[in-house]
Subunit: 223 residues, 2 copies
DNA sequence: ATTGAAAGACTGTCAGACAATCCTGTTGAC
DNA sequence: GTCAACAGGATTGTCTGACAGTCTTTCAAT
């Protein structure tokens, strides 16, 4: 991991740009679940050709952010509660492991980074900006996963979180969820800062279980 | 293009067909690691147009089976030992969990299926057909993962296994590895059959650790 | 041997086209 | 009036052809 001096910056292609834009649009909830994505419309909106768009859609399909049914085209999958539960369970498995490992190996510098993420979330939690809450919370997890020493763990986790980010915005907007979430995250941070693996695992597990419960609640209420 | 006689029940598109063919080709080791995949050549070999091929390549890229660097095109990634280790670790996390859950919830019918997979591997282990060994072993895992009650766990696991299938063929061909692998798998099976969650987890963990060690050995020797 | 420039190969991207398939509203039969 | 066949439009799946940008290799000049 040599820092800097990597002059070979890969150029951003239209397809990458398109993937990013679409992913962000999906995260933002612009497309309601179940809605279909018409190629010609997206081409016009994004200003790209159909082949480029279709490549981007294939990438998103492989990420499970959209579904593509032959002869019916792409659509936003309507995530059932069973699927969301399944994702939360795997996420728990990964996050608990990551938090534990992170506690053992994080550097002082990265620990500071983690604290900054936590403070950013604290600020967002006080506001009503649920998008900011989700983003800063994602930063927090991302730092943990990025310091667990296993890039594959990080990668898989990112994919799973992406698929339920839609839920997180809603559950975060539950009354008081952001505040209790903050408390749980602080607990995780303290454990990691203390280098206490077991405590980190425990706190992480608790956090996940509560997040899952909040997501369930928000889904039952609002769906 | 292709003559009639298409009694397809579910419409299989050229794109899907292409993905499957390429995936199989990669598994078979036709493309050596690091080799580049030239679009025009693949188009000619597969008999598809460039747009269709490129869509297929994007799918495979998202599966991490190939890498696509802008302006350099797709290539087979050369898996480093660090990456393989990372995959094995996550795989362990998932498989141990799956084995444990499977022990608690598998049906008699599926248990019989699992036994058949085990016997098939037993037959393959006696032969020298390492491809058959990998295939039957994959069946065994697949049955376990398919009965763990969490489709996401299964899906993520499948993706990871695909990425290291290349290794497995080589490590399986180590002297005696297939036989000891068989013993470990039988142990897993017995634990699941007995409905003993803890034993299943333990056996599964042991199996994975040994498989990882064998993979490492084969890599150090043959790379 | 080193350097630099030209040539070739390949990818990234687009436009346009056409057949197959799906969806929808209308018509016709009972 | 209800239901089924049907015609029409909308949309996707796929191909061909094209061209500019970028990488790699070759070859000549110093």
């Amino acid at each position: 991991m040599t820092p800097g001096l990597n002059l070979r910056i890969s150029p951003r292609t239209v397809q990458q740009e398109t993937v990013d834009k679409l992913r962000f649009a999906i995260f933002s909830g612009i497309f309601p679940p179940g809605s279909r994505l018409v190629e010609s419309q997206l081409c016009a909106q994004l200003g790209v050709s159909r082949p480029s768009l279709r490549e981007a859609l294939r990438s998103l399909e492989a990420e499970r952010l959209i579904e593509i049914v032959p002869n019916r085209g792409p659509s936003i999958p309507a995530l059932s509660w069973e699927e969301a539960t399944a994702i939360y369970e795997v996420r728990e498995l990964l996050e608990v492991e990551a938090a534990g490992r992170c506690a053992l190996r994080i550097s002082a510098e990265q620990l500071h980074e983690l604290e900054k993420s936590l403070l950013a979330f604290e600020a967002a939690a006080s506001s009503n900006d649920s998008l900011a809450q989700v983003m800063t919370a994602a930063d927090f997890y991302s730092t943990i996963l990025g310091n667990c020493g296993n890039p594959v763990l990080e990668e898989v986790h990112r994919g799973l979180v992406a698929r339920i980010s839609f839920f997180r915005g809603r559950s975060m907007s539950l009354e008081g969820r952001a505040q209790s979430s903050l408390a749980e995250m602080r607990e995780i941070f303290e454990a990691i800062a203390a280098g206490d693996e077991k405590a980190a695992r425990k706190a992480s597990k608790k956090h996940l279980l509560r997040a899952k419960a909040a997501a369930k609640k928000s889904m039952e209420g609002g769906a």
